[in-house]
């Protein structure tokens, strides 16, 4: 068995205690915007060092400035707003739900997303079109909204990202596992993914499911027009997925909601077993969910363990 292993960290990374304090202080008028910017820069540099140390294959800025997964997209568009706080699935954390208030039109992603000082190869994280359409505050047909948000927001955002050196587009999709999907919505979801696949050109596209068991959707998922499907193995049992998998697999094997750091040896052994059973065409290694909710003490340990697990896995495979 010979398979390359690509490791990276997706999603929002937790802010350090110093940055937490700085962002609190600036809201209370106790520090300056410049001081907060400096704190953001320090956190980004620290996260970059951790990823380098862990020898990850693609590098992220940790989305440290993102207030939630949707906010920079909403703020970069006309016709979208974000006010109401909504619980982020079954977590003690909340996001401001995007709300269409006109025809969504994208301008451009802010400079701090595109020119973030992170070396290539860069990984970008965006909401999946299905998540985006379901998390929105909206009374109309959500499949139509999915098509609109894909064409009007995600496609131009991906174009911005590609132009500035991002060559992995990681799409977060927790809605499918947590809430499921109506049969009629699969075709619009697949169509949206085809549009994004085309927009991404030769970039790698990953659709990453988490916060629920997606084994019942395994057959549809593996036919999605992406390079790999991400599976959170803390929610989905590998033995319940269809084999052979027939496409790429992102093994989500570090639990972003637990404070215990998984042993790299156990992880690599587990993933080797999954690979043997599912025979994916390519293999990516990452956390099951992003690491934001694991907090600043735990997340660095998980990223380092991710790097070690990838190294061990390369030896095994």
């Amino acid at each position: 068995m010979s398979l390359s292993v690509t490791a990276y960290q997706h999603g929002i990374y937790p802010r350090s205690e110093a940055l937490v304090q700085a962002t609190r202080d600036v809201e209370r008028g106790r520090t300056t915007v410049e001081a907060v910017d400096a704190a953001f820069d320090q956190d980004r540099a620290a996260f970059l060092d951790i990823q380098r140390e862990a020898k990850l294959d693609h590098i992220s800025d940790g989305l440290l400035r993102w207030q939630d997964l949707f906010r920079p997209l909403v703020d970069s568009a006309e016709g979208l707003d974000a006010q109401v706080l909504v619980r982020w699935f079954n977590n003690n954390s909340f996001f401001r739900a995007p709300k269409p208030n006109g025809r969504p039109t994208f301008r451009t992603l802010p400079g701090w997303v595109l020119e973030n000082g992170i070396p290539e190869s860069r990984v970008a994280t965006l909401p999946s079109p299905y998540l985006f359409s379901r998390a929105a505050q909206f009374d109309g047909d959500r499949d139509t909204l999915m098509k609109t948000l894909t064409g009007a927001i995600l496609v131009p955002a991906i174009a911005d990202l590609r132009r500035t050196g991002f060559n992995v587009i990681h799409l977060e999709e927790p809605w499918l596992g947590y809430y499921g999907i109506e049969d009629d919505s699969w075709a619009p979801f697949e169509a949206a993914m085809s549009v994004l696949r085309a927009a991404a050109g030769d970039s790698t596209v990953i659709l990453h499911t988490y916060y629920g068991d997606v084994a019942p959707h395994g057959d549809r998922l593996r036919r999605m027009p992406v390079d790999a499907i991400g599976i959170d193995f803390d929610e989905t049992d590998a033995e319940e997925l269809p084999a052979p998998w027939g496409t790429g697999l992102l093994a989500g094997v570090f639990d972003g909601r637990r404070s215990v750091t998984e042993a790299a040896g156990d992880v690599s052994e587990f993933v080797a077993g999954v690979v043997e059973r599912l025979q994916p065409t390519s293999l990516f290694l990452s956390s099951g969910t992003d690491l934001e909710l694991s907090g600043p003490q735990v997340a660095p340990l998980k990223v380092r363990a991710l790097g070690r697990a990838a190294e061990m896995l390369r030896e095994i495979l």
């Binding site: 937790p14 205690e17 609190r24 619980r87 079954n90 003690n92 954390s93 587990f270 934001e292 907090g295």
Partner: protein, 391 residues
Amino acid sequence: MKGGSSLLSKPLLTHELGSLAKPNWRVKAIAGRPIEDEDIAEARSWGRRLGVDGHEGLLKLLGSGPLDADGKAEVKRWSSRYGVRLLETVGLDVVYDGEQQRSEMYAWAIDHADGFEWRGSVRAFDNKYYSKAAVTGPISLRVPYHNEEFELMRDFARVDLKVPITGAYTIADWSFDERYYTEADRAAHGWRKRRRDARQTFIVDVARNLIRPNLEALIGLGAKWLQIDEPGGSTSPQELDLFVESFNESVRGLDAVFSTHLCFSDYNLFFPAIEGMTECRQFAVGFANYDSRELGTSSEARPGYAVLPKFRDLPYEPVLGIGVLDIHTDFVEPAELVRDRILHSVEVFSDPARIHVIPDCGLRTRSWEVAYAKLENMVAGVGLAKQSLGI
């Protein structure tokens, strides 16, 4: 203090739900920051307005420079006295101190428990964060953590008291688990059941070993009505049975009135699970946040209260505390709007004795000025409703 049961049956009884904002003079004094003239002026102004006896002592204390531990403790006690008097002055039937002694509802409990270790800040939203702990050892109560404040209130308050306490489910849900669901469980066959069993054991341990001893201590000091706060109660709809079990394990067989506070959720999710919460004599629930600001008593006029029939039909017939004040906004609900929300609820229940009137949640995010105006109008709205109902 009256018996909790007789108090509970008073039609359209009014009470608060817990936290008030902490005054600047309290925050600065505890943080060791300089007290400005305007802080002392604020303490003077509210002290006079609320008729806080001896508040000149507070002014002197605040003006005496950096405070030692005893001085800070005394400032906190003053803050509690001010909180109680504010709630009494607006005319509430049942009060507490606006949680002026506590750091925060989760952190306060964890800081007085054994078996937990802090794991740093986790973001709640935007630039708001909370400190999150992990359970790492056997859970126990280090020291009853509401006794001191209750004794202070018991001797100071002029009306009846209700003690708010963070519930077991919320404490467990807001903590990491490093003890119950192990790496061995995670790797084993049947991991889903193991995870569920571990979760249940964790939650029940918090109920039995942390919350219940606290309740017993308070009851021993004379507390009659204890409100279990569960903002995390509906976080996971799949775990509502565990939420109910945690409440029952916390209160079973204890001699007091127990209520629970739920807020900012899809309340439909709680049914039918809370049919098993038979020891809960009152549900205090936020509704105004979801309601229209237009007047009217019909169901159409009151969309935020659509779930009322489900609470009405609970077999053990609990009282429902209806939230009539939106705590997220400075909008001061007119007394007539409060009245209409009450009249609609009474009509649904066909019994004013099963309706209490409350804010949606604690008013800690509002200034004291706004909180005062809102609560004052709430009490005025109750008066209008009573007039209309002839009671």
